[in-house]
Symmetry: C2
């Protein structure tokens, strides 16, 4: 029984199928050919690449979806971007953008004719050529198709605050097995149909991963439908393999989905009542390697895991060459391209026009749309610091007030993300300006939940990171605040984003986007009730392995410095900025003017804590991070009492990258500057926020070998703030002992000083055992404010 | 209308509720009290801890579930462990295990009387005391409740191959929002009712996280039911707040679930046909902070996010002290405990007996059940290496044959895990011994899928890591093979497991478990078709930040060394072993005897590549990793030709931890040993598999400052194997240039040597651009096999 062609006319169906054949032809060509692109002569071994490195399996499905999105864009005048979740989907997007013309506009050497087609084929998967996954090089892409798991987050991130945008997001059934993707479906609880755009997810069940079937392809139709209804979607199924039937089913499904989206948005935008809608979702079940060889060497290929990669690989065998020739001929290239290699006009007319083409949509080249943030003057939020250590404040609470006004001044292109921790991290001033985003059910007693909230909280670091990436890549601004230990959950997402940025720096048409700002708080030193599981300062170590051009790490020692750093980060472009700052009340060191100067240089002497002038320092004491700075200053206070004759220089590090050599990082100090600050030979005792080895790794090329670093050595439990530093030998008493051990000028006194310190440590241990809290001398310590002699 | 008490008798209901009250009482006591545990005198400020650090919100729900599991264990003679997913669930498990007696058996100082209760209260969340999260210290726990996301994976991992075991796994609705947990529900597609045990998941909807509602508590009942039917479960709802009603509903739900589990298992074990069953799941909706204060300071507490932490915090206010006294009195402690603090016998009788108590179940102290693997002699799988470089092999394929026989010899306590990559990683010999585990639909053309398969493949690194952790923690063995770059997906899971192992080393009753073995293959240097997104060797950097006692890193240079290392890892206990080994055909260097010796020491000279004897070396060349070793040996070959007079020492590093000082790592070389090998002052050129800075970080304390390291510097794309090393300056030509630059003895020739090498590099670039593959001199290079002069 013939399926009704509705909604396609015979001509439309014919031309759409021709486009699909053309895209499939170009995909096969990219994988296999280095010459003879139009098969004008019989295919020979020498036309075929020596190394076959492509993946065919997912490609025809992506091509099928692309042509249907093109039709929908034209039919319904949609503003749409395309996100190719499946791995190795690169050739499909490249093929379609070449067909629609956007590719040749960005890469003029790849012309829209036979010679261009030859180049298109040749450049794929050859050394330094076009990657197999969708990547920054791919027109219209905001999503690297390599790692899998984040496509849907990127899609939702892109449409937040883009009310007229639709992100068509293809999710492979392999990717659908990952954790991040499995929870990403819940993003629909955070999408506001009044002010946000829409995501059209297309779950593509081609049934197989590399060697295995996929879970979602092997559960019953009822279970699958139930799952997505449970996720809050209305699934529309398109299942089969006959191209003509499938085109008609798909066109009808897309029309339904678009109508549903438009109806949801109209109701929300015109009506009074805003409830969470049931958004449409298309489930496309089609054969893996669709239209590829049915059998290869007697084994099933199309519709099997065997078509995942290169279905025909043995090109030294003439029968495989013949199979390839037959396969390519099956698309009837002469009907698709004229003799000069141009796509025939009737087919080309299917493409949308100008920026409506998905390869040319500016939302997928976010920097092109980026507007600078309107930033209030961060100095207006300064904490009053009459003298160093003369007042106390919570750094993140101070930042919160600044962020509140950033939010107020940028009501449509700035969001803050965090896993249920914005208030816990003391950024709650934000809730004076906005709410938490929430489209699920609300109750009277809820705290600052609203559909138009601009603080995005879901208990998933993957969601926070993924949404923010999508939001930035489409040209907006944001900040992710996270418990320090649990940022490791997104280590791998960070990798991919850092790699994306590094590649973008090499692609002229990619315009710079706002930096990814990560605020790490609730940090390792203040996990009094969470204990060991919440202690890990190693994200910094992870970050500094990436290209210096794209990463920055800041450890502001107090609230005013944090404000300076945050302001700088929010203005920056194409970076990942990591800021580590505590949320607990701490002594404040720098008045705003001093903080501005200090943050600008990123490293420097704090004169009021030095007594090495005139003359030479006997020892250089340094610190990076708020808690290490507190302990180092307390140690200096003790040293002033115990050995007033000792000439101490104190150096504070805000910008960790200053420690690296200038050749390694743009912020690195020159060797001369480094030696001026740290001396070439005096002992340096360095108190560092994180794992101490990192400081050695950053400074191993520096001249002064006399560096001793204290930091977190993976000792911790549920305990008091001071006991935590004691457990890791980072406390003031151990630091004084370190000085006594290493500074020759103290030799005569060293034994006495050490003994005094060990006595204090014993007293500490006794005290916390007896009282469950830190000694009064610790809790009550304050910088004496003495000036240097 | 009174709810039928069925299945509980009035007496049973009364006693179960009493147990629950007792557990709640003990939980509140842990959070608040340091004295007066039985409230024998009116509560005063001095009875209350100075710092209140607990979390009440999740606790009463966990207590409720625990007593119902106790009843089910007794009623149905179940062998059950308890996994507390929710964060800060520690006090609940501690309270219940104290009530059942298992706590005092492991911690005899915490007696089952008033004095013990005082200790129980005092020790909680004080410095160095009992953590707030379930942890290794918690009897019956295999799951740290800190990070969230992995509870269900651990539960499934524990019941694989434990056909009589049930893991009751409480999943908090906060945790349920994480990605890993969202896909963990699909674990039911891998559970074989014939040979595995069962998981009884209890989704605990208490509605709130820290400050937010939870997604699953704010979707409709129908959606929620649909979601879990879609996940393949049969949800049983228990919803309400009246304790009596809830006890009856819960008891009935648990009886239904247990009956379903038993019926599923009976059918599968007696019948012929094995299809995927619909396993039961309980959805418990109860108020957050259930039975806590209804209102505090006029604001709703019970049933609100405000009860997440400490509902009454202002203990300097007498009315809060009174509220606490009233709250604790509401449990009527005198009905629960006698004057001496002993639990009254009628209530105590509810506990299961001996090892049936969940705090004493040996499956939760896996080392107690651990059997050594029956290992074939790894030497039998040796690759023939007639002379160094005299044969080629794929290292992981060689390992695969060994693993195949490990699998055969250990058919019930060894599994291999990987995200769809076992075959791609060339371990497919395993499929001669077993299949891939698969309980979803199977088709004729599937490749090695079976319900009783012992290779666990799901496209989720979280699943692989989480299942394996559960499998190990319950006393079995395994190996996880993973693409090197994507192991970062589980960075944070690794952190938690490493922390768990570190803590276990300090807990005498925790018996050693099998090590977590991670094989990283498809590594950074061989991503010819995947490109930049698949290149990240930084997991090693991440690993070495954890305690030296629990981590090991091996970089075997060839197949025979890999066999030695794998054998050692499979025999080890309480470690995380990371092995990096390629899967591509490579030259082989060591015959088995030599490999055994080399792997045992972990580092050493390869005499056949040295010509420094007699006398002194002019330069030390070293490498770690298969590709760097190939390049370094090729560089040595070039140097022998270009400068035969140069005295070269070559050192190969298998065990990366040998580079650290002895004081830092148990495998570390002494300084004397290090200097003997590397000299104290000669130039060292080190070719390393990963980020080069790591070698500096490991060796910064060593005497020889003259160390120059090459490694991956985050340069890569889709390209040839040799071009990849060239992009990162790790190739033979750059290594020769490094030698020429740094070795004084070569000064006269240096310019000429460098020029020759730069010419070769230019030729390389031209060649790959023209031919798309590496030069014949690279592809055909072979170690000349010359002996040292």
């Amino acid at each position: 029984m013939p399926v009704s062609r509705i909604p396609l006319t015979a001509d439309e169906l014919e031309r759409m199928n021709a486009w699909w054949r053309a895209a499939n032809y170009l995909s096969v060509g990219q994988i296999y050919l280095r010459d003879n692109p139009l098969l004008k002569t019989p295919l020979s071994r020498s036309d075929i690449k020596p190394r076959l490195l492509g993946h065919w399996g997912t490609t025809p499905g992506l091509n099928f979806i692309y042509v249907h999105m093109n039709r929908a864009i034209r039919q319904h005048d949609l503003n749409m971007i395309f996100i190719a979740g499946p791995g190795h989907g690169g050739p499909a997007v490249v093929a379609n953008t070449w067909l629609e013309g956007s590719y040749s506009e960005l890469y003029p050497e790849v012309t829209a004719d036979e010679e261009g087609m030859r180049r298109l084929f040749r450049q794929f998967s050859v050394p330094g050529g076009v990657p197999s996954h969708a990547s920054p090089h791919t027109p219209g892409s905001i999503h690297e198709g390599g790692e899998l798991g984040y496509a849907l987050f990127h899609a939702y991130g892109a449409v937040f605050d883009n009310r007229y945008l639709i992100a068509c997001c293809v999710v492979g059934d392999g990717e659908a097995e990952t954790g991040p993707l499995a929870t990403a479906w819940h993003s629909n609880k955070f999408l506001n149909p009044q002010t946000d755009g829409a995501v059209l997810p297309i779950l593509h069940l081609n049934g197989y991963k590399i060697a295995n079937p996929t879970i979602l392809a092997r559960i019953s139709h009822d279970e699958l439908e139930s799952l997505f209804i449970g996720y809050g979607y209305q699934p529309i199924f398109v299942e089969g393999e006959d191209p003509e039937t499938m085109h008609c089913l798909m066109a009808a499904a897309v029309d339904t989905a678009v109508a549903d989206i438009q109806s949801i948005q109209r109701k929300a935008r015109e009506g009074d009542v805003l409830t969470r809608p049931r958004w449409p979702l298309i489930i496309l079940r089609s054969p893996k390697g669709w239209t590829g060889p049915q059998k290869v060497d007697g084994k099933k290929s199309e519709g099997s895991w065997r078509s995942h990669q290169v279905p025909l690989a043995a090109m030294d065998r003439p029968e495989h060459v013949q199979l390839l020739a037959d396969w390519m001929a099956s698309y009837r290239p002469s009907e698709l391209f004229d003799d000069a290699g141009w796509l025939r006009p009737g087919i080309a007319a299917l493409a949308p026009v100008g920026e409506r083409r998905m390869g040319a949509n500016p939302h997928a080249n976010g920097g092109a749309l980026l507007r600078d943030l309107r930033l209030p003057d961060f100095r207006d939020y300064a904490v009053d610091v009459p003298t160093p250590g003369g007042s106390a404040a919570e750094a993140t609470r101070t930042l919160g007030a600044f962020l509140r006004d950033v939010m107020r001044h940028n009501p449509d292109n700035f969001r803050v993300f965090g896993p249920d921790e914005t208030a816990s991290n003391r950024l709650d001033a934000l809730f004076d300006a906005t709410n938490r985003s929430w489209m699920a059910e609300r109750l009277d007693d809820d705290d600052h939940l609203a559909p138009d909230g601009r603080v995005m909280e879901m208990l998933s670091e993957h969601a926070c990171q993924g949404w923010l990436e999508g939001y930035l890549l489409s040209g907006r601004h944001g900040l992710f605040s996270c418990y320090e230990a649990f940022i490791h959950i997104v280590d791998s997402m960070f990798n991919q984003h850092a790699k994306w940025l590094k590649m973008c720096d090499e692609i002229p048409w990619r315009r710079p986007i706002a930096s990814l700002n990560i605020l790490l708080t609730s940090h390792v030193w203040r996990q009094d009730h969470n204990g060991f599981s919440h202690q890990d300062p190693g994200f910094i170590d992870h970050v500094v392995n990436k290209k210096a051009d794209v990463i920055r790490v800041y450890l502001p020692p107090d609230a005013n410095t944090l404000l300076c750093v945050a302001d700088r980060c929010l203005q920056s472009r194409n970076l990942v900025n990591v800021i580590v700052a505590g949320k607990q009340p701490e002594w404040q060191w720098l008045a705003m003017d001093a903080a501005v100067k200090h943050a600008e240089v990123g490293i420097g002497r704090w004169e009021w804590a030095c007594n090495d002038r005139p003359g030479e320092a006997d020892v250089v004491l340094a610190s990076a991070g708020d808690v290490p700075t507190l302990e180092m200053l307390a140690a200096i206070d003790l040293l002033h009492q115990l050995a007033p004759e000792l000439k101490i220089r104190y150096v504070n590090v805000v910008d960790l990258m200053t420690l690296q050599p200038q050749e390694e990082h743009p912020h690195g100090l020159s060797d001369a500057e480094f030696n001026t600050l740290f001396t070439a030979d005096k002992p340096i005792i360095f108190a560092y926020h994180g794992y101490p080895w990192l400081i050695h790794r950053l400074t191993y090329r520096r001249a002064n070998p006399n560096l001793h670093v204290r930091g977190y050595t993976e000792e911790g439990t549920t305990t008091t703030p001071f006991d935590m530093v004691v457990l890791n030998n980072l406390d003031r008493f151990h630091l004084v002992i370190d000085v006594a051990k290493r500074v020759p000028q103290l030799q005569a006194k060293a034994a006495r000083i050490k003994q005094a310190m060990y006595d204090r440590l014993k007293r500490h241990t006794r005290h916390i055992l007896e009282h469950g809290e830190d000694m009064p001398e610790i809790q009550g310590w304050q910088w004496p404010g003495r000036s240097p002699e």
